[in-house]
């Protein structure tokens, strides 16, 4: 069984889950043991992804705009 490196990226997790899901969809020959391995990996990916999503908090910061400065002198009025 291919052991993929554990990733911190939700995107990578989703990609791995999509691959596992596709594996199950395309499974014609029964390989229960391999299937169980994949289920274990998928369960871990789903768990960590959900935990990560639930922990996310927004950061809000108000910043000042920088004025380029229109201090100009009239050459004549």
């Amino acid at each position: 069984m291919e052991n993929k490196k554990k990733s911190d990226s939700l995107n990578d997790n989703l990609k791995q889950l999509a691959e596992i899901s596709a594996w199950f969809s395309g499974q014609k020959e029964i390989d229960i043991e391999l299937g169980l391995e994949k289920v274990k990996i998928a369960a871990e990916l789903i768990k960590t992804s959900k935990e990560k999503l639930n922990k996310l908090e927004n950061e809000f910061k108000e910043i000042e705009k920088e004025f380029s400065g229109d201090q100009e002198q009239a050459e004549s009025i």
Binding site: L17, E59, D70, I77
Partner: protein
Amino acid sequence: MLLFLYKRAKCYNADMEFNNLQQNIFETGPITVDQFIKQLNDRIKPVNVKIIGEVSEAKCGPTGHMYFSLKDEKNPAVMSCAIWRSRYNLFGIQLKIGMKIVASGHCEIYAPSGRLSFICDSIELTGEGALKKEYDRLLAKLTAEGLFAPEKKRAIPKFCRRIGIITSKQGAVIHDFLNNIGKFGFQIEFIDSRVEGQLAVGDLLASIRTFKKSQIDVLVIMRGGGSLEAMLAFNNETIVREIAAFPVPVIAGIGHDKDVPLAAMAADVAVSTPTAAANLLTQSWQEIFRALDHYQSTIIGGYKNLLAQADSKLRQHTGILGNFRYILQNIVKSLDIKMAGFMAATKSAITAGASQIEYIEKIIESYNPERQLKLGYSIAKLNGKILKSAKSVKKGAELDIVLSDGIINSQVTGTKLN
């Protein structure tokens, strides 16, 4: 008519200061013209007003500053005005004689000429007709340049984290946005900007340019709905071009009635409410939750299917074994039946054989000469051979009479034939 809109407090303070100035002048004696003009400027420059009038004269100076006169529409009153190049370019209005505008700014006396001028911070067209005409002109111009072309639109990045927001701190827009943005670990950088009227142009431009240097994934510019006049800043050419050329995708959440603000048309995605803008940003994150649920269901479901398939095959094999056992049982049963038949036949044959033997025995027994002898019969032998006829003996011949318990030696004395 010149319309002066004084800020009440400032106006009151200016009046007070002017009275003080008057007193000081008389107390300290004569001052120079330059000093006097400076003192006047110190007092009149802080007073910001908006004046409305018709452009009666307009000329562009060698350095690009614009000098023009505004005359009252009804009364014989004229004000000399100036707007510096950068401000003039910012508002994107080509001043022409006869144009009705509102100018915001302050008065100032130019010392070398002693001329009082109105220095404009902003200028804006007034009247829906003029605004609509300007809107249509700019729309046609920028459309022809391809600024709003669909192929220029960029997709809002998925799972974006750093969001830049430009809107007013006042009002419900920012609150609606924050109430709907959810918790997805966004880093939201917010710049408070005026969004109403022409005075917002400078604010918006500075905000956009500040974010241009910032590391954000997407920029969101928002304001509530309003009239064409209220939307002036969002139909400003400079602003529209800044949005179109912004380095990362821009979402415009600008409410509008009829005419879509040009800023919204230049943005990569335009929505009409802050809630819709927030939803757009959370969409990809919401999809993660849906995707996780989907994968959970398909993977676990897929494995259950595998188990079901395996179970089904197992049952199938068990069925085959069951059939085999049944067949074996049948064979055994059949063998038992055959064996029983065979045994029965054998037994019967044996019994029949035994009867036969017994019968034969009896037959044989019945023919046993010894049995006859015991019954009283005897066997006559002549020269060791059984004598079967009286004719075979002659007188004097010696016969052996065999009895059951011995032999009698005898001699024939005569014969009688039957």
